[in-house]
């Protein structure tokens, strides 16, 4: 999937994550988290795996995590990517 436009999914509430995606020529992933010390590596892996699953190979992906569980991070990454690819996300299917 290709990111065509800037897009956002999620919020900055606790236990959520705000994911922004923008078009770019290379894949770049930036993650900040309130639980960085404990879970930073795990969150990066979750984000990378989800991007891989969605076939995203280029784009700027920025994740501001507020202690979200993995399934929330996956859903927010998918939501932002689908919106950036100008597809309509259906949360119920994620």
């Amino acid at each position: 999937m290709r990111i065509e436009v800037d897009a956002v999914a999620g919020t900055l509430e606790s236990s959520d994550a705000l994911v922004r995606v923008s078009p770019a020529e290379e894949l770049r992933i930036e993650v900040t988290s309130t639980v960085e010390a404990q879970f930073g590596a795990e969150i990066r892996r979750t984000v990378a795996e989800q991007l891989d699953r969605l076939g995203v190979t280029e784009g700027l992906i920025s994740v501001q995590d507020k202690g979200a569980l993995d399934f929330v991070i996956r859903a927010r990454v998918q939501g932002a990517v689908l919106r950036g690819a100008q597809a309509r996300p259906d949360w119920r299917k994620l």
């Binding site: 919020t11 509430e13 606790s14 236990s15 507020k66 569980l69 119920r92």
Partner: protein
């Protein structure tokens, strides 16, 4: 019940509503902490209403102007939004102070939203104010870390939330649960105890030692806390409702005990007795009882436990107690509990107190109470290992010691001398050991009740 998709969708909608309100000032967003799937229960609604009242009070005191108030509720839980004409940091600091000082504050999520910056609202955090992150509902760690790693069983989180919502302070719950652990540690460390695990011997147990018992007791701490909180939160509910919650907690606690001990049943009976007593104590503490706290807690425990005894008489399980019931008509730990711990309260407690007054030595008083309990108690642990004969042997021996009224040193010698005969018969008076822990806890409950009574006066 709210699905994950409902919750995620609602958060984005709420964000959009917050952005729309930002034109009128900084946005205050009130939601409640409800980790379970049922986010719109009666607890959530009353907790949210209290939060809104507290925020309105704060706004009034500070002379801020409130604009565009709106509340919403649905499967994702009650919420309230408003705009305030003050600086974001000032509002956030005041709301954090509310979260920290109000009794229900730990269950409130009072967010302050400013901005937007680059099209996104900015949610101010405690970190922005240089404050520590929020503490977990169950332990002392950072709440976000515990939530993320699902460190605690949902049963513990539920009990903590229900307790807080009903007005039970976490400090009081932890103090009560800590006393139950102290009771187990006191009993385990008391030496010598014939047939039982103590500091110098494993008695008649090949699979346990003191280190294992200590580990087991520590593992039970959060579960004892949850029993007290649950007893408090459901103090007005019918016995069957509370009982089913306590059964869930008890089974999970037992699983954790087995995980901590590598599968050895160290404290099953003690967990039942002490957990029940804590729930009954919490129930009375909720009613602000201080005078006669022990008697009230005993009556409440009896009411709770009698349902179990009836069920069990109708459908006995495969426990040691069940064969003692079948063969000898003994009701064991369930009978003791449904009698409001009568043996502990009328035999163990007077023995402990009179001896403590006499010798001033708490260990000696505990040894003496254990002797009195062994002389009186129809301990089904003894029946399981040694039949009716084993029980008669121990009771006869204990009566002889009690009648001889030995001093502290002679009592230690009597207990030490009995070890070989107990071990030879594989006897372990575990039921009486559990009642010693109950006796000690009853004594503490009384002390807490008296202190509360003095404080109130």
């Amino acid at each position: 019940m709210a699905s994950c998709a409902d919750v995620l969708d609602r958060r984005e909608e709420r964000r959009d509503e917050q952005v729309a309100l930002l034109g009128s000032g900084v946005v205050v967003s009130v939601t409640v902490v409800s980790p379970g799937a049922d986010k719109d229960d009666a607890v959530a609604r009353s907790v949210c209403a209290a939060a809104v009242e507290a925020v309105r009070g704060l706004v009034g005191r500070r002379g801020w102007r409130l604009a565009a108030e709106r509340s919403a509720s649905g499967v994702t839980g009650p919420e309230w939004l408003a705009a305030v004409d003050a600086s974001g940091m000032e509002v956030k600091a005041a709301l954090v102070a509310l979260e920290e000082s109000e009794p229900l504050g730990r269950l409130w999520d009072l967010d302050v939203v400013v901005g937007p910056v680059a099209g996104q609202p900015v949610v101010l955090s405690r970190r922005d104010l240089g404050l520590e992150p929020r503490r977990c509902l169950v332990c002392d760690l950072d709440a976000a870390g515990c939530a993320r790693s699902r460190r605690h069983s949902p049963l513990l989180v539920d009990a903590a939330r229900a307790g807080l919502a009903a007005g039970a302070s976490r400090e009081a719950a932890e103090a009560a649960g800590g006393l139950a652990v102290d009771a187990l540690l006191m009993e385990a460390r008391l030496t010598p105890k014939p047939g039982l695990v103590d500091a110098v011997s494993s008695g008649s147990h090949s699979d346990m030692d003191l280190v294992l018992l200590e580990r087991s007791a520590e593992a039970l701490l959060p579960w004892f806390v949850a029993c007290w909180q649950t007893g408090w939160a459901w103090s007005g509910a019918d016995a069957a409702t509370l009982r089913s919650r306590l059964v869930d907690i008890g089974l999970a606690a037992e699983a954790e005990m087995l995980a901590a001990t590598g599968g050895v049943n160290t404290h099953k009976g003690a967990l039942f007795a002490l957990g029940l007593l804590l729930a009954a104590w919490g129930g009375e503490a909720a009613g602000q009882a201080s005078e006669g706290l022990v008697e009230r807690a005993r009556t409440r425990a009896a009411r709770l436990a009698s349902g179990w005894l009836e069920d069990w008489r109708r459908r006995p399980d495969a426990s040691h107690g069940a064969s003692a019931l079948r063969e000898l008509g003994l009701t064991g730990a369930r009978g003791e509990a449904s009698g409001g711990f009568e043996t502990a309260a009328t035999v163990g407690l007077p023995a402990y107190r009179s001896r403590l007054a006499e010798t001033g030595d708490a260990d000696d008083a505990a040894r003496w109470a254990l002797m009195a309990l062994m002389a009186a108690n129809d301990d089904t642990n003894l029946v399981a290992r040694g039949g009716a004969e084993g029980l008669a042997y121990v009771r006869g021996w204990a009566r002889g010691v009690v009648e001889g009224r030995p001093g502290p040193d002679a009592l230690v010698a009597d207990l030490a001398d009995a070890e070989a005969a107990f071990v030879a018969r594989r006897l372990s008076p575990g039921g009486s050991a559990d009642l010693l822990a109950v006796t000690w806890l009853l004594d503490r409950v009384d002390a807490v009740g008296l202190a509360a009574g003095l404080g109130a006066g």
